[in-house]
Amino acid sequence: MIKAILIFNNHGKPRLIRFYQYFAEDMQQQIIRETFHLVSKRDDNVCNFLEGGSLIGGSDYKLIYRHYATLYFVFCVDSSESELGILDLIQVCCYFFKMLCRKKQMVFVETLDKCFENVCELDLIFHMDRVHYILQEVVMGGMVLETNMNEIVAQVEVQNRMEKSEGGLSAAPARAVSAVKNMNLPEIPRNINIGDINIKVPSLSPF
């Protein structure tokens, strides 16, 4: 079972935190700090498995991590998970986050002097909820759910479209604009006669 998925940056700031076992809030933050402490001490040329650390689940757990540019991806697992399998899974997850967040067309490129983080980290920061939804298609209840890339991508897209189609207030202006753009104004009749009502349509310049 995967007990927790922790993604934090080189300074220990949490970027995505998901616990599959309940911990109180202060405990969660302590676990994040301890994990960062353990993982940041490691050289880049040592193996990606860490035993030790005392907080989660006693002795039957290890940390499996990967370090990509400015982010640490750490999976806290117990002995029922295959270590090499989890390493592969981390790679899969990272790929997904990069790929799908980019597709959202909302990549913020901060000005150069503020940008110490690479784009993947920014994706995580600004789309935390979306990343959680993606993660939910890969890992559920602490267990690996699906690893077929196409399947996951398809499911996430459908759900995002569903959310968008509901719209709500924030989407209304966008919908209005696209609706207006789709109107074919020149075809509207100059006079509309319905019974007694006579409406004179003002002349509108085409968009």
Binding site: E25, N45, G85, L87, H132, Y133, G141, V144, L169
Partner: protein, 664 residues
């Protein structure tokens, strides 16, 4: 007037641009106040955004409990966007212990039979994450229904949800067993994966269920064959291997089913051989499958040929460039070194090479394995490597290495001299990291090897001259010099090149130890006693000894002072007894069974202690390297010695005299 909350991106930017922790707290507090106000209104607009912002803030470590009720409300909303974030919030902010979680039970129940599969999936996900035992019991039949009659998207989620339910309420395993069995006929890999995980869970919990599921071994073998042999299947392909994650899961289940069962193990033998030989090990995913295969082969009742193949795969892993693979290979080898000792021995060379690996975790594993592989035949070459390792190993491993070497030396020493040399080598290299009982153990070993007394004392004297910082070594050296000083002075030695040593040289050496700031108090005690003992072994410089002893009569260290005073008394009033008291120690017997390693010795001595106390404080055992009470060098023979004296001299001063640790 509550502030209008910022939209999500703006808030995040505001938090990130805060330059201090205090500023960040300020921004967050303002935002949370605005969010709280919004929650209180029955506002429809930005609800999902507000909760999303709250979850962001929660991740940073700020309190977000006031969002719990909002989660409940959102989950009950008919809009998908709100349900989605509501369920996410519930999973992050709630757990079964909180009251609010009870309120979502109904929503989950309804959503499980929603017409929209994505709403169903949200409910399944939440139930699998935080479902309480009651919720699980309540909803288990619904999950069972979904396992049987729904699309694959829902089935795979229902399977994992069932795993959670079984973990919470063990009895419900029975309920899911039939559905799990029939899921094995599915084609969809996600569903298969979920089914295998569920069956694994059921088998691990209940031995009877395990028995029943053994019948599925042929089906599982069939599925695996399909994955291994199947041609290029782009959907599930990861670097040329067909759905490695599913393969690993199935292999794990096969392991559980084949354990301790001949028939099941036979049924999977061919398949395992096939996977082991055909899987491409040049990619990481291939190695994950291979590794799992190896673990399965080693855990079930496999043919010996297959076992050798498995161990050889592990041996190949040891040579892999990827550190992770080397590390897990070593972990596995360690597990089987007891049962498949000969097979692992074949890879001894590679394992020993890993002692030089840069990674500390790999080194640790290599050390443990190497120690396990030491035998009577390879002791000399292994010890060379281990001693080399000791001289350059990381600090945290030194104590383990030193004690491992001692144990190995004790069990397989080809000769006494080799044994003593080895121990001396360790003391010179890592004297500060050896365990406390090393000193008495070594002394005991030395006294028992009477033919090597001369050799030993010469070696130790030379070691003492070169370095007096390693306390254990210095203590042993002082003891030997005190005891065998006459052999040292005689200047002839068969085993080693003799050195011309004068009495003054020896006394200089001991005085250096006495006066050095590097010497621990216990060490100085050794040196003083040794000096005293030499008074009967040398001829010319007895006066020098007398003066040394009398100087320490006013030493600040109470222990040393007491000793010196008593030795003085031995010179003055009890000179006629001096020779007898300081004569050569008899052969020391170990009075604890088996080897000495701390615990057993201490227990033996604890029993001896009260008996000794009864003999009117005759002898207190010396504490060698540390202040640990008791070791087995407080001996029955010396007790006899003292009790003889007591019978002859019922002198209170003498009783006082015998209360010091004069043997060391």
């Amino acid at each position: 007037i509550p502030q209008t909350p910022l939209n999500t991106a703006t808030m995040i930017r505001a938090i990130r641009s805060a330059r201090t922790q205090c500023e960040e707290r300020g921004v967050i507090q303002r935002e949370c106040a605005a969010i709280r106000a919004q929650f209180r209104q029955a506002d429809n607009g930005g609800r999902s955004h507000n909760l999303a912002k709250l979850l962001y803030v929660h991740m940073l470590g700020y309190p977000a409990h006031f969002g719990q009720m909002e989660c409940v409300r959102m989950i009950a909303s008919p809009r998908y966007s709100e349900k989605r974030v509501g369920y996410l919030g519930a999973m992050m902010l709630l757990d079964e212990k909180q009251d609010a979680s009870l309120l979502i039970t109904n929503s989950i129940k309804n959503d499980l039979s929603h017409s929209n599969q994505y709403v169903q999936s949200l409910a399944l996900c939440t139930l699998a994450c935080m479902g309480s035992a009651e919720m699980c019991r309540d909803l288990a039949p619904e999950i069972d229904r979904l396992l049987r009659a729904s699309n694959s998207y829902i089935k795979k989620k229902a399977a994992l949800c069932a795993v959670h339910i079984v973990r919470k309420v063990h009895d419900l395993g029975e309920l899911f067993a039939p559905a799990a069995r029939s899921l094995l006929a599915e084609k969809n890999h996600g569903v298969l994966h979920g089914a295998v995980v569920l069956i694994t869970e059921l088998c691990e919990r209940n031995p009877e269920t395990l028995e029943r599921f053994r019948k599925t071994v042929p089906d599982l073998v069939q599925i695996m064959k399909g994955l291994v042999i199947s041609g290029y299947s782009p959907e599930h392909d990861v670097a040329g291997i067909s759905d490695p994650f599913l393969q690993v899961r199935i292999l794990r289940l096969l392991r559980i089913l084949g354990r301790n069962n001949e028939a099941a193990s036979d049924a999977m033998n061919d398949l395992l051989a096939q996977v082991a030989t055909n899987t491409d090990s040049t990619k990481t995913v291939g190695n994950a499958v291979l590794y799992e295969t190896v673990l399965t082969v080693l855990d079930i009742k496999s043919e010996s040929g297959l076992r050798v193949l498995a161990v050889n795969i592990l041996g190949r892993f040891l040579l892999n460039n990827d550190r992770n693979i080397r590390y897990i290979a070593m972990t596995s080898l360690q597990r089987i070194v007891g049962t498949d000792h000969n097979a692992v021995q074949r890879h001894r060379g590679t394992i020993v090479d890993c002692l030089k690996d840069q990674d500390a975790s790999v080194k640790r594993r290599a050390l443990e394995l190497s120690l396990a592989l030491v035998s009577a035949t390879n002791i000399r070459s292994m010890m060379k490597e281990l001693l080399l390792f000791l001289s350059s190993c990381p600090l945290e491993l030194r104590a383990q290495a030193a004690s491992g070497i001692f144990n190995a030396a004790e069990r397989y020493a080809p000769s006494q001299r080799w044994h003593i040399d080895t121990i001396l080598h360790v003391l010179t290299t890592a004297g500060g990291d050896v365990r406390d009982e090393t000193v008495p153990n070594l002394i005991q070993l030395i006294t028992n090897t009477s033919e090597l007394h001369c050799y030993t004392v010469h070696k130790l004297y030379r070691a003492l001259l070169s370095d007096i910082s390693q306390q254990s070594l210095v203590q042993v050296a002082c003891w030997c010099i005190g005891e065998y000083g006459d052999l040292l002075l005689r200047g002839e030695c068969q085993e080693t090149e003799p050195v011309q040593v004068t009495e003054d040289d020896v006394l200089d050496a001991l005085e250096t130890v006495l006066q050095s700031h590097m010497s621990a108090p216990a060490t100085r005690g050794f040196a003083l006693t040794a000096t005293m003992k030499l008074s009967t072994r040398i001829t010319d410089n007895v006066d020098r000894i007398r003066s040394i002893v009398s100087i320490y009569g006013s030493c600040i260290d109470v222990e040393l002072q007491q000793r010196a005073v008593e030795y003085n008394a031995l010179f003055k009033k009890y000179d006629h007894m001096r020779a007898a008291v300081l004569e050569r120690m008899p052969v020391i017997e170990k009075n604890s069974p088996g080897h000495t390693n701390g615990e057993s010795t201490r227990e033996a001595v604890k029993e001896v202690q009260p008996a000794k106390v009864k003999q009117a404080e005759t002898l207190l055992p010396q504490q060698p390297a540390s202040q640990v009470q008791g070791d087995d060098t407080s001996y029955r023979l010396s007790q006899d010695c003292i009790s003889n004296f007591l019978k002859r001299f019922r002198n209170p001063v003498f009783l006082r005299l015998t209360s010091f640790c004069w043997l060391f």
